[in-house]
């Protein structure tokens, strides 16, 4: 063990600006996904997060091809898809799952085709798909910081309407909450989150960073506010540790971040069962 640490210079890479940027983005991205993921999981939208990230990849590639600003292009496409998905799910006609699957997968396929043929705009394709520290630039730091700030502001200012709508939409609406506005804002923040974190986590793995921290937090607490805090912390830790591991093990950052989060999930599972057991034995 000590040999491993001796052999690996843990602080060495921090000399490099790109690594510092990568760690900042990964930590913020993890925290952001953890926070937003709580609403995604509790609203049973895990599948939507998955689909949305794939759709945005298509929007990103096409925006690059057409020569539109990448973030505006992909962002607009993401928000439109998100709202369309939200609308489909809200009205729940038969086969809404299939509709989401078709739209997002087609968009993803288009993205892959464009990237293969014309190259990926701005970043390399691997970074967009699986996350890569080399995909992170200074602009990403500002982007992810801006989106994180927006998400925190939304959760802080809209805490109660968000909670009420997530828990019990119909009653929230009857009690005077504008649930449509809540839903639209949530979808916009979700699309922005995917867009801002995609270079470091990769579109194929974003759904996991949305879901896993929230599930870990849910296992450890029965309180909503505590769940938000724990999920954000779990996301931040997996982003930070995952990015460091990614550098030392020379693996895509997205997969190391997701694997660290999964390790925390297993730990919470064991710990959760212990606590549960202790509670039972105590009684």
């Amino acid at each position: 063990m000590t040999q491993f640490f001796a052999a690996v210079d843990l602080f060495g890479p921090y000399e490099f600006q790109f690594f510092r940027n990568g760690v900042i983005v990964a930590t913020l991205a993890g925290a952001l996904c953890g926070l937003v993921g709580c609403y995604v999981v509790l609203r049973n939208m895990s599948y939507i997060g998955h689909g949305l990230s794939h759709a945005i990849f298509g929007g990103y590639a096409v925006a690059g091809l057409v020569g539109v600003n990448l973030f505006l292009g992909a962002g607009t496409w993401g928000v439109v898809t998100a709202l369309a998905i939200g609308g489909i799910v809200r009205r729940r006609p038969i086969g809404s799952d299939a509709a989401i699957g078709v739209v997002t997968t087609a968009s993803f396929a288009l993205g892959i085709a464009v990237v293969q043929k014309y190259g990926s705009p701005g970043k390399n394709a691997d970074a967009l798909l699986f996350g890569n520290i080399l995909g992170v630039n200074a602009g990403d730091v500002w982007l992810v910081a801006g989106v994180s700030l927006t998400a925190v502001a939304l959760v802080a200012f809209g805490y109660r309407p968000l909670l009420f709508t997530t828990f019990d939409e119909e009653v929230a609406e009857a009690s005077g909450v504008n649930t449509t506005l809540v839903e639209v804002l949530l979808m916009i923040v979700l699309a922005a989150t995917v867009l801002a974190t995609m270079s470091v986590i990769g579109v194929t793995l974003i759904a996991a960073t949305l879901v896993v921290p929230a599930v870990v937090a849910r296992m450890l607490t029965d309180s909503f506010s505590t769940m938000l805090l724990i999920a954000t912390a779990v996301g931040a830790v997996s982003g930070f540790v995952g990015m460091n591991l990614s550098f030392h093990l020379d693996l895509p950052s997205g997969s190391t971040i997701v694997l660290v989060a999964t390790a925390m999930f297993l730990a919470a599972f064991v710990l959760g069962n212990r606590v549960h057991l202790a509670g039972k034995l105590g009684k």
Binding site: Y159, L163, S175, S223
Partner: protein, 284 residues
């Protein structure tokens, strides 16, 4: 403490109220299906305590949802008095019991309009503890909603409805799955709130334990088949139209007891102790 029979007089004590909700020629159909509600005319006045009864699938929940405004009628109109909020206590089957909320978080979310701090303020905490105390939920503020008894769970959602500050409360089957004593407590609680001026509309399957003690009963089966005091509405003919099977009304110690006529052949000879549903009621 209110006794059930004193509830019956309440309506004469309150002055003729102003109309809060008026439904006119209302009908509701889902997709291309048949009408689930048909030609409903109903007025809820301030101070009312109304019970909606009818068999499963008769449209009770649907009626509450249209009156509430969360479902648009296919035909007809619902007029609600301007700026009114309605506290809604949903049918327990509709609540996500695995959602991570403690009792105080659940009640606290009710104040969601306008700018509110994310956390529950000190003043709100005091108010919440008051409401919980009042509903017999003392000391349960930090419990998860799943870790409560059925009656406590019902009351948490009643507390949430009250905490919105709404003067009108709708409850969808507030006593389903509760034992006689707890059912009784919930009924008294609602009667007390009503006495303080809260307008209450509820749906129930319990004709003898709940409906018979309310000032106004509405018999529903797609259409309204009767509305008014239990004496006028809980009659064999209206009940048969509502439930589609013959019912009998027995008089026992000044109380009216509805029994399913096909249930026990000995009902013609009303030896009440042999009629299980009647025995439960005589426990009141």
């Amino acid at each position: 403490m209110n006794t059930p029979s004193s509830l019956m007089n309440r309506r004469t004590l309150t002055p003729a109220g102003e109309a809060l909700i008026e439904a006119r020629s209302l009908s509701v159909a889902f997709a291309t299906g048949p009408n689930v509600l048909d030609d409903i005319n109903l007025t809820v006045e301030r101070g009312d305590l109304i019970g909606i009864v009818g068999p499963s699938g008769s449209g009770k929940s649907t009626l509450l949802r249209v009156l509430l405004g969360s479902l648009k009628p296919s035909h007809g109109t619902v007029a609600r008095s301007r700026g009114m909020t309605i506290g809604f206590v949903p049918q327990v089957e509709r609540i996500d019991w695995n959602f991570p909320v403690t009792v105080s978080e659940c009640v606290g979310m009710a104040r969601s309009r306008g700018w509110k701090t994310p956390w529950i303020t000190k003043n709100e905490r005091v108010e919440i503890l008051d409401v919980l105390e009042r509903l017999g939920l003392h000391g349960l503020a930090d419990r998860h909603i799943r870790d409560l008894s059925g009656g406590q769970q019902q009351r948490v959602f009643l507390a949430r409805a009250l905490f919105t500050g709404a003067e009108t409360i709708f409850l969808d089957e507030p006593t389903s799955g509760l034992d006689v004593k707890t059912r009784h407590e919930v009924l008294h609680l609602l009667a007390d709130l009503n006495a303080e001026g809260v307008t209450v509309v509820l749906s129930t399957h319990d004709l003898n334990g709940i409906a018979a003690h309310l000032p106004i009963v509405v018999c529903l089966n797609t259409r309204i088949l009767g509305a008014g005091s239990p004496e006028r509405v809980l009659t064999p003919s209206i009940l048969e139209q509502t439930y589609g099977s013959p019912m009998k009304i027995l008089e026992h110690a000044g109380m009216r007891v509805v029994v399913d006529a096909g249930y026990n052949s000995s009902v013609d000879n009303p030896a009440l102790t042999t009629v299980p549903s009647a025995k439960r009621v005589s426990g009141l």
